[in-house]
Symmetry: C2
Subunit: 315 residues, 2 copies
């Protein structure tokens, strides 16, 4: 059984795991991201994490998931919103040099999608899309069993799909992006906008609380929740026409609402989606939670070495 | 120089051509589609067209573009809106049996995209999207130099991307589909809707006339044209986030407006598109016109035989 080390570099924590070829985490370790010390120090921390994990047995290499945008061909982080000051960091080759292991680099949302594809809710299908509904809306797309990158390596940025022309402004410069309505943060924020807030007592709500109150009949929370699921259903329709995914998987904070999220989205999907073809995707919940990124990163290292993915490896 | 026969089977005409490996049409022939005589008779006509074209020299096989949806694995037309009564027609193998040549089958919009990719406005890029803005809005998507099909063979049905939630009803069962606003037919129809029509004299307008009047300052035509280009720009933004195409190519009747279409779409794109990344696609006009489908079909036969495309061949 060959294993790889999967690493998910986030703005707060670095998650590492020794992952076998079936996507099972054999050992895991988590350390804080000391982003303020700069990229070199963090890469040292990554190398120490790798050396800690590889003591358990031989590994084929390292799969590294990071925020982006990335320059995949050259293994560089172009910049990363959660890692201030990280501009054009050649992280792939730096980590390979420090560890003597081949390193595969991937965008964190894509790695999470590949994780669900390998060992989670996407098992058994060659065409799937993962939405992670958290702070924003991240997404990763699998086409014919491979991660979709596109010409500029930014394919699958579905959180910025425009679902409401002229709608809420987004920091990205557009208006009406999906993530302005359907991320966990958007749901929490929209349940507290001043015009609505007057009618409700108490502190700001989390997305989970909004879902819970919506189920109990709170009209403001029901409206906000309904909008989130309506626009998510529109996004699913558009994903279907764009990629013809067999399965669309919902993860991130919003997916804590479980069956309530699924039933709300399916309700709107039945109402919105076309009746021409019998090609509607299955809508289901993610299974790997916060481990999806490191599992997917390790699986990508294996896939690259087996040449089922394009070689974005350092060695 | 090896050649292939490319055929584009439409509801009115069948276009055939002897196409070399560079996508140049060496000889062409067009016959009416006698759809009312049933699929067997039309397949006989296709075989006769092939035999006419192959007299000019040896050919590697036939690339056949047809309306869909198709079952590509089994080479069958599931049904075709323009060919009444054609249900589950095994057209690929039937034509191969009648001609003794290998046949590659492809959806007509995908074939047109592959034609532009091979020998038209998409030359030199590996990631492109073609919109054909005609009776409806067709689309074909090239990812890494290959046609995107998806799990159900219906990927890239971008005419039914929802761009206006709760908008105009579409015969597909959805509301607010792109093709309700941005097809040539939609532009012609919307310039004549009763509430607007009262203000305008004369017979119904074509999309080209609407464009022309919009340029001359006719307020109704300007509004209809502006809507078409706004929603097309939104579709381009969403295509960009979905596929990260290097180039988005506009063809079909609407593209007769040329620079006026390009400048209108680019204007809205500059207004709508995100400012986070420098990954905006080039927007340009199709080059092959009505020949794109047959050129692309022939090119797909070559690509399948060279194994740069998945083998959807009959032999």
């Amino acid at each position: 059984m060959t294993s790889a080390i999967g690493i998910d570099l986030g703005g707060t924590n670095i998650k590492g795991g020794l992952v076998d070829q079936h996507g099972t985490i054999r050992e895991r370790h988590e350390i804080p991201t000391r982003a303020e010390r700069g990229s070199n120090a963090v890469i040292d921390d990554l190398a120490a994490l790798v050396n800690h994990l590889r003591r358990s047995g031989p590994v084929d290499g390292i799969g590294l998931a990071t925020p982006g945008p990335l320059d995949l061909r050259n293994g560089r982080i172009i910049r990363a919103a959660n890692l201030p000051g990280w501009i054009d960091v050649p992280i792939r080759d730096a980590l390979a040099a420090k560890t003597g292991l081949p390193v595969t680099l991937e965008n964190d949302a894509n790695a999470a999608a590949f994780g669900e594809f390998t060992a989670g809710a996407g098992r058994g299908c060659q065409h799937m899309t993962l939405f992670t509904l958290g702070t924003g809306v991240g997404a990763g797309v699998i086409i014919d069993g491979r991660v979709l990158h596109g010409h500029f390596d930014n394919a699958g940025e579905l959180g910025h799909m425009i679902v409401a022309v002229g709608g809420e402004p987004c920091p990205c410069g557009q208006r009406g992006c999906l993530e302005r309505y359907s991320s966990a943060d958007a749901v929490a924020r929209r349940a507290c906008i001043p015009s609505l807030e007057r009618k409700r007592q108490g502190p700001p709500l989390s997305a989970e609380e909004v879902a819970s109150r919506a189920q109990q009949g709170d009209p403001i929370c029901a409206k906000v929740w309904n909008d989130a699921c309506l626009y998510l259903a529109v996004a699913c329709v558009n994903v279907q026409h764009a990629y013809n995914s067999q399965r669309i998987i919902l993860g991130g904070g919003m997916s804590q609402a479980g069956d309530f999220l699924l039933s709300s989205v399916r309700h709107h999907l039945a109402d919105q989606a076309w009746r021409l073809h019998n090609d509607l995707p299955e809508i289901c919940l993610a299974e790997l939670g916060a481990d999806a990124g490191l599992v997917g990163a390790a699986a990508l290292l294996h896939a690259h070495r087996n040449k089922t993915e394009k070689p974005a490896c350092s060695k």
